[in-house]
Amino acid sequence: MSSAPPDLSELYQQVILDHNRNPRNFKRVESANRKAEGNNPLCGDRIQLYVQLDGGGDTISDIGFQMPQGSGCAISKASASLMTEAVKGKRLRDAEEMFEAFRTMLAGGANAPGKLAAFSGVRAFPSRIKCANLAWHALHAALQGSAEPVTTESARDF
């Protein structure tokens, strides 16, 4: 049992509420050459991720995501939105490094860089960690070029 109860404002930071309300890169990328679907079967969260790789397949030149109506909670939607902002224009290796940093943060490690640190509050809400990770697992799958939809149940979250 933790001593001090976690505060809701730690979880729902302004940047998260903002990206939930106005998600960035909330679009289908018609020219995408990588796609992945992410599912959280426990709560029904679903994400479609579109990635366009250029520069010899090494740079994320465009990225977008869609969530079927009502199928994304604030945490999963904001996480997808901030993720797309963070990795757009980045090289694959840098994107995978961000994924690792994000995962490390949620597992109790150091904060991820930049705006991604807004999700540090999710650590105190274990039931929501999968929501924050969903988009990143989908990105990882898209970059690996795996055809199977990823689910938070088969993914390593901790």
Partner: protein, 408 residues
């Protein structure tokens, strides 16, 4: 309404504080809390009477067997079973339905046959029939629901025109709270020549159930939603059907004689209870039923329906809140959404105030598709809930609106 001030102290877990506030447990459709009498019955069983049942030649084993079989008698009385031999102990509703699908279904459903379920069924009353129909080349027909959350009787009638072998439906919907006209549906299904399976997971804890009045063929219930331990449950069936069915699990206890290459089967219900049973669960279920009978199931039902009525009324007053399910014939289940706040976020915010609700698809994805939502929030009531719990729910929902900037 029930005297909750006298009931609440019977439930040790309700003394727990959540984030410094009293626990407001409104996820009873998922599982109920357990009264001291049920917890004590389990401890008492292991402290004084534990042995394997139906085997021992010594006094202790006889006591364990007596305790197990007494629980069977209690369950039989509780639902007015046709005979105590028609009560098979299972792990719960899911196993009960799987038993019917695997045993009766495999024997009686073949290529080209039809099995009917409804769009408001729980996955546990859909997936076993999907598996059966796929294996047998049979057709699974899903009956539609009306806009206000009832089984569409016109579509039910159309489904019966295919002369289905079996019709399965929930007595009470776990996602909507709808109390279905079970006796009427069963009569119609029988007239079409079908055998009927009633998912009683949500009715058994909340209504007086009389399977002989319903005249269903199979009735499945879960103990854990009605004060009893997890892993307790029963299949109640017409004995003649059980007699004619092949076994479900092979093993000890379910046999009469075992030769090198074949076996003969024990009498019902033991034919369906292969392996050492969960005696603790059966004993706990017996104690839970005794507790409920002391309150009276009519009063239990009236209490929950009143709480649901008030909760629907008060939640509906919040602008942006949509409550699902029928206006009447509703058990103590209140599903709702609030503006564009995802139910998962609602549940997290409510949890901060000690209010436990369920958020998600409630194991009813076909129903969610028809409602046009990915998920709902669901408050569900039981005998220990009171008006203070509804106050806490409504206050916490309003707070969520403020946090997410939903116009009040």
């Amino acid at each position: 309404m029930l005297d909750t001030a006298r009931i609440r102290p019977d439930f040790p877990i309700l003394a727990r504080q959540e984030n410094g506030q009293r626990l407001v447990y409104l996820d009873n459709a998922a599982t109920s809390q357990k009264p001291r009498k049920v917890i004590d019955a389990i401890v008492h069983y292991y402290t004084f009477h534990n042995a394997n049942v139906h085997r021992g030649a010594y006094a202790l084993a006889v006591e364990a067997t007596d305790a197990y079989e007494a629980a069977r008698t209690t369950v039989a009385r509780f639902v007015n079973a046709w005979a105590r031999e028609g009560v098979v102990f299972t792990r719960g509703t899911t196993e009960s339905i799987n038993l019917v699908a695997a045993s009766w279904g495999r024997t009686n459903v073949g290529r080209g046959d039809t099995v009917v379920v409804t769009a408001m069924d729980h996955h546990s009353n859909i997936v076993p029939w999907q598996i059966l129909c796929q294996e047998k080349g049979a057709t699974l027909r899903m009956v539609e629901i009306t806009a206000d959350g009832r089984i569409d009787l016109a579509d039910f009638g159309r489904a019966l025109e295919a002369k289905p072998k079996l019709v399965a439906f929930p007595y009470v919907s776990n996602s909507l709270g709808t109390v279905n006209p079970a006796a009427q549906l069963i009569k119609l299904a029988h007239a079409a020549g079908a055998v009927t399976v009633v998912d009683g997971a949500q009715s058994s804890p909340h209504l007086r159930v009389d399977v002989q009045v319903l005249d269903c063929d199979f009735y499945a219930l879960s103990g854990h939603k009605m004060l009893a331990p997890m892993g307790s449950g029963a299949l109640i069936a017409k004995p003649a059907l059980l007699e004619a069915m092949p076994p479900y699990h092979g093993g000890g206890e379910m046999i009469e004689r075992v030769w090198d290459d074949r076996s003969s089967w024990n009498k019902i219900p033991h034919k369906f209870e292969g392996g050492t049973p969960n005696v603790e669960a059966a004993v706990g279920l017996g104690a839970a039923i005794a507790y409920l009978e002391q309150l009276g199931m009519e009063r239990v039902a009236a209490h929950e329906q009143e709480l649901a009525r008030i909760a629907v009324d008060r939640l509906s007053q919040i602008e942006g809140v949509t409550v699902y399910g029928p206006p009447d014939h509703r058990a103590g289940v209140v599903p709702f959404t609030y503006g564009d706040i995802h139910p998962h976020d609602l549940a997290t915010i409510l949890d901060k105030d000690g209010v436990c609700i369920r958020a998600g698809h409630h194991c009813t994805q076909p129903l969610m598709r028809r409602l046009g939502v990915a998920a709902t929030a669901r408050a569900s009531f039981y005998i220990y809930n009171d008006l203070d719990d509804i106050d806490a729910l409504v206050t916490a929902v309003r707070k969520a609106g403020e946090l997410f900037g939903v116009p009040a």
